[in-house]
């Protein structure tokens, strides 16, 4: 893997046999990096994987976000992306039908400030991001804390949620670089052991992020 910065030539002759991917542009005949990062090649496709920068949403990503606005038909969620993501009431499962019928206000399900975990359902060309949750009530995260790391350090994986059931702890590694650590659902009270383990995990995540290490949830399991 090769590190490049803005304006560096990746391929001097890129007329044929090269597909221009994200983070690259053509200047004359040559393929040039348009952001800093690492050059990745997938067969003919050449792209620059960013080191830093805002989160770029993609369909299927598990993210942790914060509700910033409640509208009549949707919630707007800050997922550290260029634009706010929308969580429509219609995708929010059973609880929302009740809300739509006026039995419950949408704010009583999710209010401003609440943290949720959701999946990116659609990303439109104009930047609009739509989220999806199976159940709006269950998507709301219980007591816990948020650790923010560069989005590039969390890759989409099979596993984004870790459980330590005996310790009553759960962690969600959002692809948007928002790592939530907190109480396992169903645990009623918070204990000293639980809090200590959580703060240790948070410090470890922060230390790894400051060294630029990738956060792979499957491996974090072994470390704790």
């Amino acid at each position: 893997m090769r590190g490049v910065c803005v304006g560096d030539v990746i391929e001097p002759q890129a007329l044929d046999g090269v597909l221009r991917g994200h983070g690259t542009l053509l200047r004359g005949n040559s393929l040039v990096a348009s952001r800093c990062g690492l050059v990745q090649r997938w067969n003919q496709l050449v792209l620059v994987d960013p080191l830093a920068g805002g989160y770029v949403a993609a369909v299927g990503h598990v993210v942790v976000g914060r509700i910033v606005q409640v509208e009549p038909t949707r919630w707007l969620v800050d997922i550290r992306s260029k634009t706010l993501a929308a969580l429509p009431l219609s995708t929010a499962g059973g609880a929302m039908h009740k809300a739509a019928e006026g039995a419950q206000s949408s704010r009583s399900v999710l209010a401003e400030g609440d943290l949720i975990t959701a999946e990116v359902q659609a990303v439109r060309a104009d930047g609009h991001i739509q989220l999806h949750v199976r159940d709006a009530v269950a998507s709301k995260l219980p007591p816990g804390m948020l650790v923010e790391v560069p989005a590039a350090l969390v890759r989409p994986a099979r596993k984004h949620v870790l459980h330590w059931r005996e310790a009553g702890l759960r962690a969600v590694f959002g692809c948007n670089g928002a790592v939530w650590i907190g109480q396992e659902g169903g645990f009623s009270s918070l204990g000293a052991e639980q809090l200590r383990a959580a703060s240790e995990l948070a410090n470890m995540v922060q230390a790894m992020a400051s060294r630029g290490e990738m956060l792979v949830p499957a491996r974090m399991h072994m470390n704790v």
């Binding site: 800093c36 830093a52 930047g127």
Partner: protein
């Protein structure tokens, strides 16, 4: 002391601070200095110290109006203790002009189409003004944009040239600029050799102007090499780490 006003700026081919005519001050560049920002940079050219924070791109406010393209908003502020005379709180007309000049220098280099409907805020703070603030700020701001992962056509570097006592001086200090006959500031995308900003003051003959531009372009190229080195060191470190990671994963499998 009173004589300093009348003393020449240049003696025996050297300037008051001991530099040659075409020499930069000590340049220090760094990225990632503000943890909350999407990208940030710090530039120090001896007594000129500039900090830049880039926030976003984030969804534009409604009042801005709809735009398919992204926007950059630039805001320059001098710290009250940045200059010899204590400055004022709140933005002065000079700072507003600097902001506008800087915005032009950066816009041409940024791929605005890559963040539709969003705005990237570039906040520039001049901690200490020791000369060539616009040039230092432009260099630092471009570095911060790159650090924020914003798509750009190329980096931007900028430098100033003053003509004083018949000589062309690269990267002038405040003292030198105060006594210049003419001066200019050039911002350049060095790899594709495109000028993104050019400001000049005072009279230039066309041959002088050409000579000054060539000097400034040479200066920009020097800065570009340094800026790239700063960004590349970070990229190279990441590359090594990922390789180690991949090896570890392979071993585990």
């Amino acid at each position: 002391m009173a004589g300093l006003e009348q003393q020449p700026l240049l003696t025996d081919g050297h300037r008051r601070d001991g530099r040659a005519y075409e020499e930069f001050r000590n340049v220090f560049l760094n990225t990632g200095v503000i943890s909350q920002a999407s990208g940030s940079a710090y530039a120090e050219f001896n007594n000129t110290k500039v900090m830049v924070g880039v926030y976003g791109p984030r969804q534009s406010e409604r009042k801005v109006g709809y735009s398919e393209q992204g926007r950059i908003s630039v805001d320059v502020k001098l710290a009250t203790f940045a200059t010899r005379q204590r400055g004022v709180f709140g933005q002065t007309p000079e700072e507003r002009e600097l902001s506008a000049l800087l915005a032009t220098a950066l816009e041409a280099a940024t791929n605005l189409a890559s963040f539709p409907k969003a705005t990237a805020d570039v906040y520039v703070l001049v901690l200490e003004a020791g000369g060539a603030e616009l040039a230092v700020a432009a260099t630092a701001a471009a570095l911060a944009l790159a650090d924020a992962g914003i798509e750009m056509f190329d980096l931007v570097t900028a430098c100033s040239v003053s003509r004083a006592e018949g000589a062309l001086l690269l990267d002038p200090t405040t003292d030198e600029a105060a006594r210049e006959e003419a001066g200019l500031t050039l911002a350049l995308m060095p790899a594709c050799s495109e000028v993104t900003q050019l400001v000049s003051r005072g009279p230039w003959s066309s041959s002088q102007l050409r000579e000054a531009l060539e000097l400034a372009m040479g200066g920009c190229a020097q800065l570009d090499a340094l800026a790239r080195q700063v960004l590349k060191t970070a990229a190279a470190e990441a590359a090594t780490r990922r390789q180690q990671e991949a090896q570890r994963q392979a071993q585990q499998a």
